[in-house]
Symmetry: D3
Subunit: 124 residues, 6 copies
């Protein structure tokens, strides 16, 4: 029944993370423990929401990075910063979003997000 | 010394909230208690960050609405939803951003933000 | 495609809130603004997760009240405290959960949740 | 067994809120629902921690206001701003603490706290 | 005066973590720095609240895991997932609780909690 | 224009972290990625707020440690615990602030902050 949702979700994920979508991926420990969860995310978050045409995928990606930075969700931020670059957002734009996070979520949240971005962008 | 920063900040605020900028505004209680704070916000948040050319004001507005929804800051969200409409973001785009908030900050945060948006958009 | 999910979700919602499910309900403002969102919640939260047999609905209800109290999501907590009573959790058990919230989320979160519970339980 | 803790806690509460401690107070709804909780708070928070001599009560009061502002716990902040005035902290010092909250918890948290303070200080 | 509370608290802790309670445990650095804090937790959290008969220890454990997952408190979640297994909650039930966390606290919180659970359950 | 603000901010930072201010410091990755952000923090947080005479630097430092502990911002807490010692706050006072955090932000936040403090204070 939900195969169609899964396909729609996978199509969005392939835009954000083409390398992951095209290559073989062994399941990580949490995916072994709860495979249904990762299918649920693909179907609900990506298949039901991200795939909607009412907002450009670039905008969805930008606001997701902003929210993850504000909420201090570093691991997910890493993945979505990579996704943002893949849908055409520049490093410079991402840095601005993360800097501005200081205003709404505080300097420590912005600082942590910029450290994460430096790691994702390969800056040493 | 910081008059230049204040002018830059006020110019950004006038784009977001032209009605407020053009008309007379009596100080609200918190502004009477801490006038320096509201000048600080104009200078630092708007004069030092929002005024930077590295990110479009439309994008700054969109990510701000997204962060305020994720953080549950309803009062500030009201003001920034109004600002978003003034810099060219559509109601439909804002609704999508708020719906997607459910994925990253949970359904209650999205629900609260949509109720706030309905109020701002005059839906009864 | 997702009609089956919706039906499963509605069945769970009817256990939690039988009065709402059986009577006529005019759409509230946010539901007029974003009808797709409330269908999304019914399908994804209730149809895809709450309907799974791996955890009793009583346990799902109890942990939901606990999380909403910890996160300070008062409006949603009201609805779920009502739902909890409908699936057989007692007022006394709910009070204990909310008191214990003080340990993990702080005294103010517990205090706010107990005030909400007093309102839901009709205590004046 | 815990009467001694309760007495120690009540002594601290009487320093923060002498008017409450000296006059008659009818139980509010949450206190009727969960009287044990409010005794628990008096014994554990005030009797076990606030009463310790390792930190001045003025400092305890100041950091509590700061934390409540950062966490957005407005109701509790009201009570503790009143308490702060009663243990010798000035309005000016409290305003500075709340302004600085913008740096660590974001401008919306500081803004909300200053609005709360204006209400507590009777500014219209 | 509080020895009785400590004994009650220790009895609860022994149900959750029998191995810790029965064997020798050298103090970890934070316990050397603030021994009074860990005694405070045993007395107030476990002696005053967890020991109350109004809610089953299984339910207390379940809601604690749910709250820690929602709040992103990973270290404490590890300890309480171990405790949950010791009071009879199954891995399958815990996975369901953590999956459902996505609805109320967002997908990143659920994802982080499931990674923590995979580690606690020894899944590689 | 903002050189004066920067100088005021640097003067405050030198009180909190004299070793950093006096010695050579290579830029860390995030500072290479977003040098403007760290200048922004020096000017706005320290130059515009911390430098104000309305509150003693000791009090600013104490409430900052308290807020960072409550918000779970561990990295920033490390830096500010060091700063607190440099402006005359004792280890014993800091431990009390962190213990009391349990009341307002929950036991896990206090526990995490005390672990951080043990590391900063060199306790093994």
């Amino acid at each position: 029944m939900t195969d169609e949702l899964l396909a729609k979700g996978r199509a969005v994920q392939a835009q954000l993370w083409p390398a992951v979508a095209s290559g073989p991926t062994g399941a990580f420990p949490a995916a072994k423990l709860a495979p249904d969860f990762y299918r649920y995310v693909a179907e609900s978050a990506f298949g039901m929401l991200w795939s909607r045409p009412q907002l450009a995928i670039r905008d969805r990606s930008l606001v997701t990075c902003a929210q993850l930075a504000a909420l201090g969700k570093t691991e997910e931020l890493k993945a979505h910063l990579r996704g943002a670059l893949n849908v055409g957002i520049t490093q410079e734009e991402l840095v601005e979003v993360l800097m501005q996070t200081a205003v709404y979520a505080g300097v420590p949240a912005a600082n942590e997000a910029l450290k994460t971005a430096a790691e994702v962008f390969g800056i040493e």
